[in-house]
Amino acid sequence: MKAVFQVALGVIAAIGGFVDIGDLVFNAQAGSSVGAPALWAVPVGVLGIIVFAEMSGRIVAVSKKPNFVLVRERYSPRLSLFTLVASLVLTVLTLGAELGGLGFVLNYFFDVSVNFFILLALLAIAAAIYFLPFGGLERVFGYMGLALLVYLAATLKLDPDWGEIGSGFVPESHGAAVYWYFIVGLIAAALMPYEIYFYSSGAVEEDWDESDMAVNRANSIVGFGLGGLISVAILLASAQVLKPAGISPTSVGSVALVAQQPYAQLGLILAFIGILFAVAGATIDTAFSAAYNLAQHQGWKWGKRFRLLSEPRFTLSLAGFLLIGFAIAQTGVDPIELTEYAVIFSIPVLPLTYLPILLVGNDRNVMGKHVNGPLARVLGWGYFCLICVLAVAAPVLFVWTNGGG
């Protein structure tokens, strides 16, 4: 049981990153539009995030330095400030979308008012952050989000074509821009910057040291592996239910409808419980990531491991980002569109997020015997090149395909 709880950080970072409000719908859209041939993009993204999460966790275990401390140390003040501002804008926009998404999800249960539930969600998240320890937040929101595994059960019950699934994991050449739009989006969704900010800062919160290398490896592989599995399951279940009917999903309700097909009310309830906690987990990931980044960049005392009242600047910035997110959600902007924009336009920021991790991971002076081995170096540089290609391709494909439509 202890081993299960030890991977909570990886689970919440992955659930919040892979299946947030926008990714839930994006995965379903990929399933209904492209279907199984898009599957190979998910393991490509999952392997990338595992490589960088494991590296950032290892760096924390050796040097106690989370991601934004590396950004501050390795970049010029101007580039460091640019990275901070870009990451804050994208993370807080995503936070607003997640809070808005929580309002929509809760309204599916009670049908009162989306705006009322956004307020209720804000208060519930603030209370959870104040009263629960960091480990408690990870466990409640990470593990409850695993109710989304109902989509895996749904895929199996819907009698999938295993041959088609198998060939979906093999990349194919394709001329359609829409196909490449979804491939790029699925890879990018796995590599969202706030996942790595949260993961590396969470490793500091959990006080990892050199004796925690195995825990770090387990968190990155199991946590992000589970996130990828759920992503694949939603894509496949949507390909089985929505694609034959010619349905292009536009809301989280469409995603829940998929789980209702094989399991009726039970599927619907499990899907909504999973969605509720996954989106709440993403809200916590993004709120903390924004506050962590600002505090680490400014050199403030930070972290949930201290009493929040003993670190007023970190606490005020956390509260401030939640309030800005709330204000964004209250404008009535569509949270699905907002997160999809955030995914596509966060891609140009990805190289700036991942480069310092790679540089420090390869630095024997800092890492000593835990420096990147040959495999980590090859994978790290390989993925860094891929991220640079995505950074150029994503905005172009977004405009070219009219957002995949």
């Binding site: 599916y108 249960f109 010619g246 536009t250 809301s251 009310q265």
Partner: protein, 117 residues
Amino acid sequence: MSPDELKRSIETLESTAAEGALLAQDVAEDRSKATFVRVHSRDLGDVVVHEAEKLNDAEAGDADVGSAKTDAIDLADRIDTALGQLQVAPGSEPDGRTAEKALSGLSEDAGKLAEGL
């Protein structure tokens, strides 16, 4: 409004009607929850109304597009009415069956209209 833009708009109507039909089928078989049906059918209705507003405001370039645009607005109105039936009676199996039949037919009609462009 170009034929491509009109086609995209009609395809949205086709997809929304098909999703409404799937939801209505679950109502007919008592496989869903009333609150979800009510909220989701209202959301789908909002999509259809928004599309009808866009169609209504757009200038048709030629006579063929103008005629298809009028048909599409009429389809949107009928899809919205069928979805309204689910919203009003989300727990009624007979109403679910009626709405499913209507929405399936309207989705097919929208598909044929889009194909013709």
